[in-house]
């Protein structure tokens, strides 16, 4: 089947979702990201790869943090960056998504970073743009947020390089999370033998076992001897209906406290995609503790986004091969 993310030679053309990406491409992105980690520590925190290219951040849904990290990544690659918060501009005047995109193409944009509340929006735009223009999905509804998934896997690999020997637990709102599915997929593709999800039944999708994970409904058993704990954000703004009794109740059962963390391996790392709800899914002392790698995740997020843009931005506009 044709994968819309790859070109005829099997190279990455758009980044829409981690699902369906071959191991070779995942490793290429992670290996390339390694080369960008050090760039931020140089006198000149920039490389010239995307000089003369224009990256358009089109955010149909607000997300200051994601937009900022993409903007920094593009600027460190020397691209020109245009930020559009479409929710507050043309769309409110009735312009369609494709009209917005066509206008930006007419202004010679080379790459689109798209955030939209609707699943499939980035796919839709990728099918519309001409050859030589790449689309990166920066989050579409509940569907996918591939760069977040990639940066999480990159963080795991940096701290625990032997991925074939790991036990990873995802904790929390799997149902509403657009990264959980991507992460499970990437972890298993890269050879992690045991992925667990820990959540109340109401926050798990019905077919969760089909993803190849072990399901736990209590923290103590679920966290036993794990190497990596990936906390998921409790998506308050996506929560509809009475899925949970209260935030306090949730914290007592599924919040990550030091006491709970002690059930994991002593050198286990704690991750969180942010923004954190302190005292709801994670205790402040754990979030700021020495097993937490939450801030390094943010730093690596820039390197991973640089890697994706650098891979997409070169060698394809002229149809050149290697």
């Amino acid at each position: 089947m044709h994968n819309p993310q790859l070109d005829a030679e099997g190279r990455l053309k758009h980044l829409l979702t981690i699902e369906g990406l071959p191991k070779r491409i995942l490793n290429q992105i992670l290996d390339t990201a390694e080369t960008f980690v050090g760039v931020a520590e140089r006198d000149i925190k920039k490389v010239p790869l995307l000089r003369g290219k224009t990256v358009c951040n089109i955010f149909f849904e607000n997300s200051t943090r994601t937009r900022t990290t993409f903007e920094i990544a593009a600027k460190r690659l020397s691209a020109d960056v245009i930020n559009l918060n479409v929710g507050t501009s043309s769309q409110s005047k009735g312009e369609t998504i494709l009209d917005t995109v066509d206008n930006l193409i007419a202004m010679h944009a080379d790459m689109f970073v798209v955030r939209h509340a609707q699943s499939g929006a980035a796919h839709f735009i990728a099918q519309h743009v001409p050859d030589g223009i790449s689309v990166i999905n920066a989050g579409d509804g509940r569907h996918a947020h591939p760069t977040q998934g990639l940066l999480d896997v990159f963080t795991v690999r940096r701290y625990k390089p032997d991925m074939h020997n790991l036990r990873v637990a995802l904790v929390g709102d799997v149902l509403h999370s657009r990264v959980a599915r991507s992460e499970i997929h990437a972890l298993t593709t890269l050879g992690v033998p045991e992925v667990r999800v820990i959540a109340p039944k109401t926050l798990l999708p019905a077919d969760v076992e089909k993803l190849g994970v072990q399901v736990f409904h209590d923290m103590k058993n679920g966290l036993k001897d794990v190497d990596v704990i990936m906390m998921l954000r409790l998506q308050n703004e996506r929560m509809t209906g009475a899925l949970l009794p209260s935030a306090q109740e949730y914290f007592r059962t599924f919040g990550l406290t030091q006491e709970m963390l002690n059930h994991a391996k002593p050198d286990a790392i704690v991750m969180h995609p942010g923004p954190m709800n302190r005292g709801v899914e994670i205790d402040s002392s754990v979030a700021d503790g020495n097993q937490s790698v939450i801030l390094p995740q943010v730093t690596y997020g820039i390197a991973v986004r640089m890697a994706v843009m650098a891979i997409l931005g070169g060698g394809q506009s002229a149809g050149g091969g290697a």
Partner: protein, 171 residues
């Protein structure tokens, strides 16, 4: 064609580098062959000049190459690793084969993003001719003329011994 022994060439360029060394000298190898050479040269120089700190680093100029727009990034980039302060250092930049000069240009551009060196000296095992830029090595082990479809490849075996061979590409 009889190729020279790379071990002999390495000894030769090490001697030439030793003649230029000073307290501010630093060694930088270009991935992958230049890094192997740099590590061997560094080992010898540290024995011969224990009074010098001789900082060292590695570069993969992939992020500065001029063929990125046409060919994209290579799929297995290596991170550059320069932890010393480049400013005011006399850098010996080490590569295995000198050909078009484009890798050297990219490497020099990358070095300058770390700081302003006092000088850069280019040392290579072999200059195969064919420079396309006004760049030439200062220290050379041997000069060999090759056809455009011939590719000179340096490799390192498990015991660390260097080997040279010619590959033909018909592209």
């Amino acid at each position: 064609m009889q190729l020279p022994n790379p071990e002999t060439l390495l000894a030769d360029i090490t001697t030439q580098i030793a003649a230029q060394i000073n307290p501010d000298t630093a060694l930088v190898g270009i991935h992958s062959g230049g890094v192997w050479l740099m590590q061997r040269i560094l080992k010898t120089l540290k024995q011969d000049f224990p009074q010098y700190t001789l900082p060292s680093g590695t570069l993969d100029a992939a992020l500065y190459r001029d063929d990125y727009a046409a060919r994209g990034l290579k799929t297995d980039p290596k991170p550059s690793d320069i932890t010393f302060d480049v400013a005011d250092k006399h850098i010996i930049l080490i590569d295995d084969i000198f050909y078009t000069g484009r890798t050297t240009r990219a490497a020099m551009n990358e070095l300058f993003d770390y700081g302003r060196p006092a000088s850069i000296t280019l040392a290579v095992l072999i200059n195969r001719g064919g420079a396309q830029l006004p760049i030439a090595p200062n220290i050379t082990g041997a000069e060999i003329s090759l056809q455009a479809n011939q590719n000179l490849q340096l490799s390192q075996d498990t015991k660390g011994k260097l080997h040279l061979e010619i590959e033909h590409n018909n592209a």
